[in-house]
Symmetry: C2
Amino acid sequence: MKFSSKIDRCQLSPIRKFAPYARAAEKAGKKIYSLNIGNPDIATPSAYKEALRSYDAATVGYGPSEGLEVYLNAVMSYYDVKLGVKLEKGEVIATTGGSEALCIAANALLDEGDEIICPEPFYPNYSTFVTIPGGRICPMPTTPENGYRYAVREHVEACINEHTKAILVTNPGNPTGCVLTEEEMRIMLDVAKEHDLFLVCDEVYREFVYDGSPLRSALQYEGYDQNLIIVDSVSKRFSACGARVGVLISKNMEFMHHAMKWCQARLCPPTVDQIAAAALYTVDEHYFEMVREEYKRRRDTMVSRLQAIPGVQCKMPDGAFYLMATLPVDDADKFQMWLLTEFEGDATVMFASGEPFYATPGKGKNEVRLAYVINCDAINGAMDVLERALREYNNK
Amino acid sequence: MKFSSKIDRCQLSPIRKFAPYARAAEKAGKKIYSLNIGNPDIATPSAYKEALRSYDAATVGYGPSEGLEVYLNAVMSYYDVKLGVKLEKGEVIATTGGSEALCIAANALLDEGDEIICPEPFYPNYSTFVTIPGGRICPMPTTPENGYRYAVREHVEACINEHTKAILVTNPGNPTGCVLTEEEMRIMLDVAKEHDLFLVCDEVYREFVYDGSPLRSALQYEGYDQNLIIVDSVSKRFSACGARVGVLISKNMEFMHHAMKWCQARLCPPTVDQIAAAALYTVDEHYFEMVREEYKRRRDTMVSRLQAIPGVQCKMPDGAFYLMATLPVDDADKFQMWLLTEFEGDATVMFASGEPFYATPGKGKNEVRLAYVINCDAINGAMDVLERALREYNNK
């Protein structure tokens, strides 16, 4: 039996592919420090559960394909009050997580052989979203020495060819934590506009910038309406990853028309979660400050511990809640498998192997992405394990 | 700016495209009888809301990509106890509604130019799901005179060519209500197996068969494991359309491996809805009997009223909760627009225009799909409106 050549080219997620081994290790009584996935342990604001408790519709019916009004209004109000961005009805579509928003954008833009430019390393699921409609990622290499910065006009333009349809960036960056400066963001927007491309800005980590001024959303720059697509979500903002409620924003009405075709086919995002997500948007600024402070402590703890392990290299990330680290191993995937199946002790560590964060062949083999989404004590525990594991792995 | 040629070929859903006009009519004080969409008014079992109320996790985290164990176990137990079908772990993946299951199947199977055979008329969103990966539906025409039956070996085989990848059926049928007999189902399975095709059975209406014996699921036939893909959902079964929890089932492990690539990329279905969906599976058989009786009354009411309207033709459907009707109008789409924007009175009716239920050009223009998902009083009200509207529309 033959399958789609496109799905054949896709891979299992490096972030989730070891999950079965982890569950086996856990069932065998092992504690797992999960640094592989951005699934924070920060409590979801109580507004979420309060909304669930007061949900009282007799029938859990479909909502509109573009999203429930209560949720769309909450999103529009957040953009207005917090960012000074006025969004109109029709410019915002509720999605089943930021993931669906990315999937819709890729499917609306890409034909077989089309390309999306993406700074590398990038979130590996981008590969799947881009490959499913037949596209490919054209990677823009960055280096830790250069702080993973990518917004250099000549470098971006060197990637543009007749197949290019869009540029896709995560800002703040996943996995690098790189945050675009105002000038850099303007370069990305200008290049997109001049070359008639879409700039897809995945800003789900917008709240998490630890030094300097807060993130300036791409929507806050004027004059780029027709080129801009924003992906956003409640998952990270409110530690509500399982709520699966995101948003796709664009002022390009032709794009939104195509997006609605997808949205109407899949009917609607989850009804109750949209109502609860709307409630999440009522939390005050103090919540964000508190969470940001907590992530900053975790980041600092993880970076200082990592930098003290012989052979490990990593940079201090500016935003989001991930970092890329180089480990003194030949193959991070093999090391991960060893950690889950052979490493002795009552605890072990999971990370995301680096290779799938790169489209350039051969890169990232000795790198890992670590998510600082567990508390400082747990991070210290994880770093103790990693330090000992690296010693034992390299002496075996 | 250029968009995907595939999304260009997609259309807005005929079931949802009039929604903005309906909302305008509603805001102007008009009552709308919504027969256009399968969004029942039957109460969702209280187990759903009880599960929401007792949800107590501190953080609404991601679940596994294949679904939460509590939900998968509930589904597997339903198949075991109710249908005698033993499913193993790995053969069942939780999806964000049956819609996502269909989308995954289409994307795992279809390349540009590939075909899926589908009895016509069919659920129009199938077109979108099939067109997005570049495929097309090869329609197998059926007629009301023949009860919309399609499982005739020669007819199915006549549609098979080198581009064919699968056969897709809704059983019980949407929009026709056609329910496959045991011999018919075996024909579909045999043809699929002999020609090395997948048979995708969308069985979301499984519970709703009004005459004769209950539906025999395709899974209950032995010997077709490698060819069978089942799409199922809690939406219709428990009147919980907004819960967005479905399931993709197959014993073909290569297919499930490809499906998991999609599932890992989109991370997971909604966490709370999966927990509540698991609770829904605890309702007893009495619930299904009661709901079935109610739909049967609605079906009988609608059919007898429709058949009494001059110029309207429709057949008694055997299952699901839709019927196709021919109206004495030139163009059902124009009639719908007139009903929403010009028809005078305090109430109006929405239906789904017939044309997008057909891939064969020119067919279905004077047909509509009606969903008998509102109670008998409302159906009578809707039929009063329809009768008067047809008279006025044809006399204007």
